[in-house]
Each structure stands twice: as C-alpha cells, then as structure tokens.
C-alpha cells in the first residue's frame, strides 16, 4: 500500500501541492489530468527521481521519501519507452536483474518469463531502434516487471501509439494487471483510458488533486470542469459483451441489451457520442440497430444546441437542436425512443 501525505513538489512554473493519496495493494490507480498538470513529475517524485520539497511517501508501512530510487521497488515506464539504445531487447529486459546477484541461469529464466508474459519472444535479439511503438512499449513493460517491483509507474504509456496499437495494448495492460497483481499507478490525460483500466481515478489539475473515486463516481459527479466537459460530451456505459450474431455483439448494460460491433468480450465499456443519438416519438425501424424507449429526464440548453438526458433507466445524453426540441415538443417525463446505429457504439 502506498500512502502519500502532504506532498509538495516545485515544478518551476508552479507547484504540485498538498497531494494526499492512499493506493491499495494490487490496485490499478489512474492519475488523470490535462497536459502540463505535473503528472510525470508526480510519478518521478514517487520513484525518487525528482526532489520533493515537503511531505512523506510511505510504502507498506515504511517511509521511503529519503530512499534512493534503486531502493524503492518502483518500476517506471515512460511514454516514449526510454529503452537503452546500446542494448538488445533481451539485455534491456535483463538490465535490472544484473543488480540482484541472481545466478546467470535465474536471469535467463526470468527474462524468458517476461518475454512469454508479454508475447515478445520473437523480438529478443532485436535492437530497440528497429521496433515499432507498440513493441517498444511491451519491451519497456517487460523490463520494468522483470525486477518484480512493488509498484509499476506508467507515464502515459499509450498516448504515443496509433489508435489500433493503443486499443490492443490497453487490453494487454488490463490482462497483465489481472495476472501479475502488481500495484499500478498510471497517469494519463485520456478519460477513456482511465475508465477502461482504473479501479480508482484521481483527477489532477493545476497542481492539486481535485477528486478521487471510482471512474463511475468521477464521471457521474464530476468536481472539475475538465471532467464535467468530458462527461457531457460522452455517454460512458459499462456492460458485459456476450456472443455475437450476424456481425453484432450484444452487450448487456444493466439489463438492457445494446447491439455493437466489436471483437471484445466479457467486461467492456461503451461510449456513444450525444450527436449520434436520434430522439423520436415512435420506434424507428431502420438500419439503426438500437431503438430503446425511455423517459426524458433532463433538458440542458447549451447555446445553439440542447443536451437531452433520457433515462432508460440508464441515462443517455443526446444532442439536438432547438428546432428539434420544438418539433418534438419534448418535455421532462415524456416517453420517447432513442435510436443509434450499432456502428456508432465505441466499445473499449
């Protein structure tokens, strides 16, 4: 368990101040904040790589604020990986094991384990400069995990990757966390990443923690404008993806079945842009494969457009124009149908 108490760090232009966090053993903890919020420095301060001005860091009941980085048992993975360019993939992964006075046999075994865990056995003899972004990130993860750290610090590990690689690696991170059970502290500016991976999320803005909670709590009751803006502009749902049929996957979201197109199964998240949802007074038979009835829960005007929240009872926010509002004569409590195409549902 990691305890951070009254941490204060000088960032030059501003301060990280009054940071208090309790992170449970084995938790996947997300620190979410916009670019320039000091997220990387916070990770480096935890790892002992950046000097702190005040405060304490405790790990498993032991204060570690004064320890050198190599004594803290924290592994770090940077956004652009920072692989050692003069070493092969294998030697990168074995780097940390050299300092543990393992016999050579043990080192080789451990490297093989890591390589197997991250499915990169075909890369071991390669030079890091020949790898793709996703491959480099897996090597960096293997290198950090090889020394069996108490805490894995991930500094925007997915944000330098192209969307496809990103999605794949996100799945692997989740699986990795299930299998290895290491405590993970992952900083990101990407809300979907936070929702997809985090057990809990801390929102960092202008040097301060403004909110801590489960992704759902943070989304439903946002205390920062950054989060509020995000929550309004996305419908984020959690559900279980079942078997597919005819190219669709049925996702059970709190008892409601939603059709989507995805390869993912079991626990998944959905997001749906408010402007992709139609509201009508009758059910629509069309190539849009989801047509659900609900009740208008709220009508929020925002300049030229209007956000309408419909309760199915799960809540979906839709974006309509003032004209539509009048045409449809929408009122709170009115029964309506919401319709959206299976292809408009983003599963992650």
């Amino acid at each position: 368990m990691i305890k951070i108490r009254a941490l204060k760090v000088n960032l030059g232009d501003f301060w990280l101040e009054d940071i208090n966090l309790d992170i449970e053993e084995g938790e996947y903890f997300i620190i979410l904040g916009p670019t320039g919020a000091g997220k990387t420095v916070l990770l480096e301060a935890l790892a002992g790589l950046y000097p702190i001005s005040q405060g304490e860091i405790w790990s498993d009941g032991r204060e570690i604020s004064h320890l050198y980085p190599e004594k803290r048992g924290m592994g770090i993975v940077y956004q652009d990986q920072a692989l050692f360019p003069h070493l092969s993939v294998k030697d990168n992964i074995a780097f940390g094991l050299k300092f543990m006075s393992y016999p050579r046999e043990k080192v080789r075994e451990r490297v093989d384990d890591m390589v197997g865990l991250l499915k990169i056995s075909h890369l071991v003899e390669r030079n890091p400069s020949t790898l793709s972004g996703g491959e480099r990130q897996k090597v960096a993860l293997a290198r950090a995990l090889a020394t069996d750290p108490r805490v894995l610090l991930l500094d925007e590990p997915l944000s330098a990757l192209d969307p496809e690689t990103k999605e794949g690696l996100q799945g692997e991170l989740r699986e990795l966390h299930h299998r290895v059970k290491v405590t993970v502290i992952h900083v990101t500016h990407d809300f979907e990443e936070a929702v997809a991976l985090g057990n809990r999320v801390a929102v960092l803005n202008e040097g301060q923690i403004v909110q801590v909670g489960t992704p759902d709590e943070v989304l439903r009751r946002p205390k920062s404008e950054f989060v509020a803006h995000f929550a309004l502009s996305r419908n984020i749902l959690s559900g279980r993806a079942g078997d597919g049929e005819d190219g669709y996957t049925m996702v059970d979201v709190g008892g409601i079945e939603i059709r989507a197109i995805t390869e993912l199964r079991d626990e998944v998240h959905l997001s749906l842009r408010p402007e992709d949802i139609l509201i009508s007074r009758q059910p629509l038979h069309s190539s849009a494969r989801n047509s659900l009835s609900g009740v208008v829960a709220d009508i929020i005007p925002r300049g030229a457009v209007i956000y309408v929240t419909v309760s199915l009872p799960l809540e979906l926010t839709c974006l309509i124009t003032r004209q539509s509002l009048e045409d449809l004569e929408l009122r709170r409590g009115m029964k309506v149908w919401v319709t959206f195409k299976a292809g408009a549902v983003h599963v992650f």
Partner: protein, 272 residues
C-alpha cells in the same frame, strides 16, 4: 543515373569554391610540401638518431599520460556541466576554453608559479616525491593544461546527448548512481569522449611554448631528450632550415597519422 540538367553555375558558388580552395591550399600546401620534401632513407636515418627517437617517444608518452589524467578528472566535470544547473554555469563553461587562448609561454610560466618547487602545489608534490621542473611530469602537466578543454567540451556534448530518463530508468531498475553512470551514461557518451581524447592527445603532442618553459631536457629512457616540438625549434635555431627538415617531417607525419587514424575510428562509430 541521369545527371541533372546543366544550368549555368551561380556566380556566388564559383567565388565561394575558389575562396574555399584558397584556404584549403593555405592549410594543406605547407604540410604536403614539408612531408614530401625528405626521402624515406633520410627519414629512417633521422629516426634512428637517439635524441630524435627518445624525443618522439617522450612526446607520445607524455601526451598519452596527460590524456589519461584528463579523462579521469575531466569526464566528471563534463558530466556535471551536462547534467546539473547552477548559478554561473554559463560563465564557467565559457572559461573552460581559456587555456586555449592564453599565450602558451605565459601558460608555462603560470604553471611554474604553482608547480615550481618553492610554490604551493610544487611543495606539496615535492613532499610526495614528484617534481615538475625539467621532468616528464612537467611535460605532462604542460600538455594537459593546454589540451584539457578539447576533451571537456567534447565529453560534455556527449553526455548532453544521452537522454536523462535512461539514467532514471536504470535507477528504478536497481542501479546505483555509479552503476547507472558506468552502464548507461558512459557507454552512450563514449564516442564523444573518445574523439575528445583523440583531440586532447594530438593537441598535447603539439604543445611547444608551455613545455619549453616548464620542462626542457627531461630524464627519460636513460637520456635527456626534449619534446619533439622543441627538438624541431632547436635544430632550426642551431643549424638552420635544411637541418631541421627531416625532424620536422617526422614530427608532422607522426601527428597526422595518429590524428587521422584515431579520428577515423571515432567518426566511423558515430556514423553507424
């Protein structure tokens, strides 16, 4: 491959190429003229003279020792300049080049003022059994003084080119500060350090003024040779141009061969 269509060359290009040619001739003509002015027989004969070969060996040896000491002391300074920021750092970096621009005879005298037996460091080292006036150690410190900036500047560039996060990652993987320096920073900056060392060694071998003042004839290999640059000047002063020629040729050849060989090795690494 098809050649590009001919177009009347720009006037400026022509002028610039001519001026460049002029400067290259100015630099290389004296060296080529000198190097080709003595036959191999004469050179071989000269090389077998005892005061010639002991002088050349003394020069190579002293410059080598100076470079080793420079590596030991200069690389840490280069690392600190590359990694830390502190008040007055920019100014200090500018001052590092001062030994290059101090008149060399004056530099020799300045060294004498602290390394002479009756002075500060001289007295300390004398207690340790090391003297600097007219000894190999004197040649070494004279060469080191004038050539250190080349190594420090180059090593500093090398360390600057190493991503500091590589060192940070090494620390989180269990490496101590020393281990991270030896296994990450040093190997990655090595090319620059090596090419800086080549420059320092070659520059040390070329020193004349400071060595002349501090250590003229020094005991070496059972004789009392002078540094090779002094030998050249002595022969010129005592016997004239023709007599100085073979020694000059030898000295220049040795400098060129050492420098070009080692720099080629250093550059080959950088390119791949």
């Amino acid at each position: 491959m098809t050649k590009a269509l001919w177009r009347r060359p720009e006037g400026m290009s022509v002028v610039f190429i001519l001026l460049s040619g002029l400067i290259l001739v100015f630099i290389f003509a004296p060296l080529l003229k000198t190097v080709t002015s003595s036959g191999p027989g004469t050179l071989w004969g000269t090389l077998l003279e005892q005061d010639v070969y002991t002088s050349i060996l003394l020069t190579i040896y002293a410059a080598f020792i100076a470079t080793l000491v420079g590596l030991f002391l200069g690389v840490p300074l280069a690392y600190i300049l590359a990694r830390r920021s502190f008040w007055g750092k920019g100014f200090l970096e500018g001052l590092i080049d001062i030994p290059i621009v101090i008149p060399h005879s004056a530099a020799g005298i300045a060294l004498l003022f602290v390394f002479g037996q009756q002075f500060l460091f001289g007295r300390i080292f004398h207690g340790l059994g090391v003297d600097f006036v007219n000894t190999v150690a004197g040649v070494v410190i004279a060469m080191m003084f004038v050539s250190l900036p080349f190594l420090i500047d180059s090593a500093k560039d090398g360390f600057r080119g190493v991503d500091v996060r590589l060192e940070k990652v090494a620390r989180t993987l269990g490496a101590s500060a020393w281990q991270s320096f030896l296994r990450v920073s040093l190997p990655l900056a090595w090319r620059n350090i090596f090419s800086g060392s080549v420059m320092m060694w070659a520059r040390g071998m070329s020193e004349f003024g400071a060595v002349l003042i501090l250590a003229y004839h020094v005991p070496f290999m059972g004789h009392y040779p002078v540094a090779d640059s002094i030998l050249v000047a002595d022969r010129f002063a005592s016997f004239g141009l023709d007599s100085a020629r073979p020694v000059t040729v030898l000295v220049i050849l040795i400098s060129l061969i050492t420098f070009i060989t080692l720099r080629t090795i250093a550059c080959r690494g950088v390119r791949t």
